[in-house]
Symmetry: C2
C-alpha cells in the first residue's frame, strides 16, 4: 500500500515538468512560478516562511528568490521592525505574469480532475489536505536533523 506516495510523486513531477516548459515563454525558469504565486498571494512574506510553505530547502528558496528579484518579478524590502527580515512583494511585472501562471494551473487542475464528479473532487481535496498536514510535521522534524524511528 505504498501506492499513494508513488502516485503523488508521479503526478507532482508531471505537473511541475509541464509548468516549467509552459512558463519558459514568460522568462520564468525552473521552479520560479512556485515562489512567485505565493508571494503574490502573501505580500510581505519572508523567505524562511515561504520555504516552509512550499517545503523546499531555505537555501534553494533564497536563490530562486534572488533570481526573481534580479529579473524584476519581485522586490525585497527591509522590514522596519526587524532587521533580519526581508519582506517580499511582487512588482508590476510580476503582477502581469501572475494571471498566466494561474490560468495554466487552473487548466492543469481541470485536466487532473477529469472524470471525477463534484463530490469526488471535494473529497480528494479534503483528503490531500489531511495528508499534507500529516507529512508536514515529519518534514520539519527530519529537516531539523532529527531521526524518525520506525
Amino acid at each position: 500500500m505504498v501506492e499513494i506516495l508513488r502516485s503523488i510523486g508521479v503526478i507532482a513531477r508531471s505537473l511541475d515538468s509541464i509548468s516549467n516548459i509552459e512558463f519558459k515563454d514568460y522568462d520564468l525558469t525552473k521552479g520560479q512560478y512556485l515562489y512567485l504565486v505565493r508571494i503574490y498571494e502573501n505580500p510581505g512574506i519572508i523567505q524562511e516562511k515561504l520555504a516552509g510553505m512550499i517545503k523546499v530547502d531555505k537555501t534553494t528558496a533564497a536563490r530562486a528568490i534572488k533570481k526573481l528579484e534580479k529579473n524584476n518579478f519581485i522586490v525585497r524590502k527591509q522590514s522596519v521592525d526587524n532587521k533580519k527580515e526581508k519582506k517580499l512583494y511582487v512588482t508590476d511585472k510580476g503582477k502581469k505574469v501572475y494571471p498566466v501562471i494561474n490560468r495554466e494551473n487552473v487548466y492543469s487542475n481541470q485536466v487532473a480532475l477529469k472524470g471525477l464528479d463534484a463530490a469526488e473532487q471535494k473529497q480528494i481535496l479534503k483528503l490531500l489536505k489531511i495528508v499534507e498536514n500529516n507529512i508536514a510535521s515529519d518534514w520539519e522534524y527530519v529537516k531539523k536533523g532529527n531521526k524518525r524511528e520506525y
Copy 2:
C-alpha cells in the same frame, strides 16, 4: 480550486526530501531510490520506459542509472533481440537495500494516511490513480514538444 495541484506538490516535495535525507546512510544519493525500487520490481526494464514510468527526463534517468551502476546497485545488460536496448537488473547489493527503501516508504505512507479510515484510504488511492492517468497524457504531449491549448 487550484488547491489539489499545490497540495500534491507540497506533499511530494516533503516526502522526497525526507527520503533523500534518510537514504543517505545507505549510499543512495538524491533521487536514486526512485529508480532502484522500480528496477527491482520490473527486472529487465529499459531506461526509456523507466523514465516514462516515473515521469522524469530521459537524460536525468540516464545519469541516475549510470550512477546506480557505478555504485554496483544495478547492472545493465545488452538485450539480445535489440541492439539499442540495455536491460536493467538489480544486483545483490541492490537487493539488500530494497527492503530499507520499502520499509521507509511503508512508514511514510502510514504517516501520510494517519487519521483516514479504511474507506478513505481506499478512496484517495483510487482518485489519485485517476488523476495520475489524466495528467500522464499531458506530460507526454508537452514533453514531446507539443503545445497545450487553453
